[in-house]
Symmetry: D3
Subunit: 174 residues, 6 copies
């Protein structure tokens, strides 16, 4: 991690980050990879209220349902074809979805559950920006079924209206 | 819904809302009920950046995992015993939990997945406040498995690492 | 006072505060007691933009005219009957007042002079939330007549349009 | 009041206000006069987060204890000699005061009770700016003893620890 | 321009904008073209605090010195090689510059004068995001020498320490 | 520079700054002088969101085109006659100008290029306030032609549509 220098010492490198040309490793069950450029990776973003990510998608790859607790996201497709979607908040829970081609732009309002998946024939790449230098990310499946220690299974069974055995099975995957 | 009057016409009733003494109807599968006092119900809250809720819990009742996309929540137990919990964001997904007695206070930072459940012998009641007049609420199970129209089952199967038949079964409940 | 830990070390207790079930000591001339849960008492509230108080009122007890310089307040009556009021700013200085019963909610916009008094037959209790973790409180009588060192008496005599002897008399009480 | 035009129609006059060279009429019991340039008088200030006032003080004139519920104030003395002061919030209620000469600058943090009085031999003038286009002003004596309708006298008697007859006397002046 | 619908009527198309795959027309004296996706073009961005642009650069093309009065900008190079630079504010006016390759990221803090130019052999493309839905853009040369009506020439001659004939010559170009 | 003390130690002098009665030295090519009262000079302004300046103008003096990257400015003329102006952002670049007399007020929205010049017969003085304790200032000519190290001349030649020799000549002045 780079360090933040005082104003008298700032150098061009402080405002610089490299690596978004590199394809992220999508050899994982989801077939996607997010490369974040947040204040953690790029400390000069602190107080500036913006950050960026590259997202890679293997064929059929999924950036699974997640939220950013402190940022709106604007995304553009650099390569490939993506289905994107988000769900509005209670009580409507409307599913809003769209297939995006290269050059299309989509905005995911702060805190809403959203995803992207590759519905084209090849790899896909998106660049997205977020309205915070520290937007956070909560992958719903991981937070709910993969928390450490686990959320008690009876809570999840009740919330998802399934037998606890189903919850146990899902938790075992995470 | 009340209407907002101009500054010259404001009356005491504009700043007033009643009904938080009433036990919410918890005769539902979750055994809980949230009574919101947001700007939708109480228009004078607009621009004031705060709102309130009463939450009722039948024995074993659960206010299931949810997020508020635009607010931090501070909660105090008025009656009964609650287990509360939230999960930190990626990559740690730490489950932070505590059993609260009457008079205990807990804070859920903006956007994090959190829940409360009644772990006492009788009814439980909490009063909570939120740092927005329009905090929103996203019940995770409903947004993910109960969206309208549904999120495609293969997306959820991949995200939750289960067979699509499991997703179909859960979606059928919502 | 608790200490704030780094994000890697957070524990459930950091998000927890206890004691709002305890009746505040109202054996004082005003017959009221505010128990604050601000960032001073509960450091985790820092940056979260919200806080809470319990207010106890003996019969006839008064939470005297005061302001919060950095927060709007939303209050609900847990027990008893309260007359609440605030005064709009210059030039109208309209007095807006309402008698609240258990379960009623009232909002006091940021910075306005407001009070509550117990107009029921027994004790009264309110829970209120404020739109800042550090709302501040300025009790008007104390700030004006009880400042340390005192505000010169001739200033107050002119401001309140009374003989300086009246000011001297009031200042002597604080 | 001027009207706000659309962006395509803005004219220089929209960004312009005149009159701060005029001495305010100080022929009143307090011997002071505030000439505000807030969004009410100068609509273009809306959303811009700043406003200005001229304050005139006759010899011995007082701008009495007041608060701005939505702004910090920075003041400079253009002419004359002013004693300025403010009181810190609970529990300390420290009185912070200073005598200012021409060219001195003082800052009154948001929401605190503050005043200025002319302690020189002639007239005095100050220019101040506020960190909101709509800062509001609450003159403590007017809000407390001059509200319309009046705050019940027994409330004020208890708050100020005086006989109700003293309150009646003060209220009669406003 | 699309219209903003009420919350009940939102459709996927409201959150969607297309066209960033299209090369901007760089047949102009500067050899560059900015394609904005601001709230003017994409109304759903209102209140969301973020926006995006595509910038095309012909060989030797220049996105000339400009500022965004209401936003920080984060930029990544999609194709080609760019020299980027900005100048710190008074009194240092330090010129901070860097040559960026594909995949490099650079951040321009709010309000600072900055530029990019193509220093590679072919075309270049950048995607940038801004921390406001309405960031504004002020091209320095246009605002100073191309204002309508013109800024008086003697003002600019004095500011830039040149003969008025030089100003006249520059103004004639705009 | 003064130091900021903890809240328990604050003294009146912490809230105090002196010197705005002193005429700034205008013996320089521009014939103007800005005396800032920003957080750098007056640390108590930190977090308070406001600051102040005095500006002196010799006859024909110019406060040259500049921007404040983080603040709107409101200005009033204390003495003399000023022409003020600003330019709206792209694409209109409208020049908005007005001649101000003593007591006139003008507002320059955040980030826009603006100037003032003395068009009266004698000296002129203005007091202005800014909506940030750390507004910054960017003198356009200095940032563009006087940066250190210099911005490459061919960039400026292209941006201003002049021969590089003209740029060289201007840069040599700074």
């Amino acid at each position: 991690m780079k360090h933040v220098r005082t104003q008298m010492q700032v150098q061009a490198d402080d405002f610089f980050f490299s690596g978004l040309h590199l394809r992220g490793n999508t050899s994982n069950p989801l077939g996607s990879r997010v490369t974040p450029v947040f204040a953690t990776q790029f400390p000069r973003l602190n107080t500036l209220g913006i950050s960026m990510v590259r997202i890679d998608y293997a064929p059929c790859g999924l950036n699974p349902p997640h939220t950013h607790p402190r940022a709106t996201e604007i995304l553009t497709v650099i390569e490939g074809t993506l289905q994107v979607g988000f769900v509005t908040s209670n009580p409507d829970n409307r599913f809003i979805t769209k297939v995006l081609q290269k050059g299309d732009v989509f905005v995911f309002p702060v805190g809403l559950v959203h995803f992207q998946r590759n519905v084209g024939n090849g790899y896909a790449v998106a660049i997205a920006a977020l309205s915070s230098q520290n937007p956070g990310a909560i992958t719903i499946a991981n937070a709910v079924f993969g928390a450490n220690p686990p959320i008690p299974g009876d809570i999840l069974a009740k919330a998802f209206q399934v037998d606890k055995s189903v919850v146990d099975m899902i938790q075992a995957k995470f």
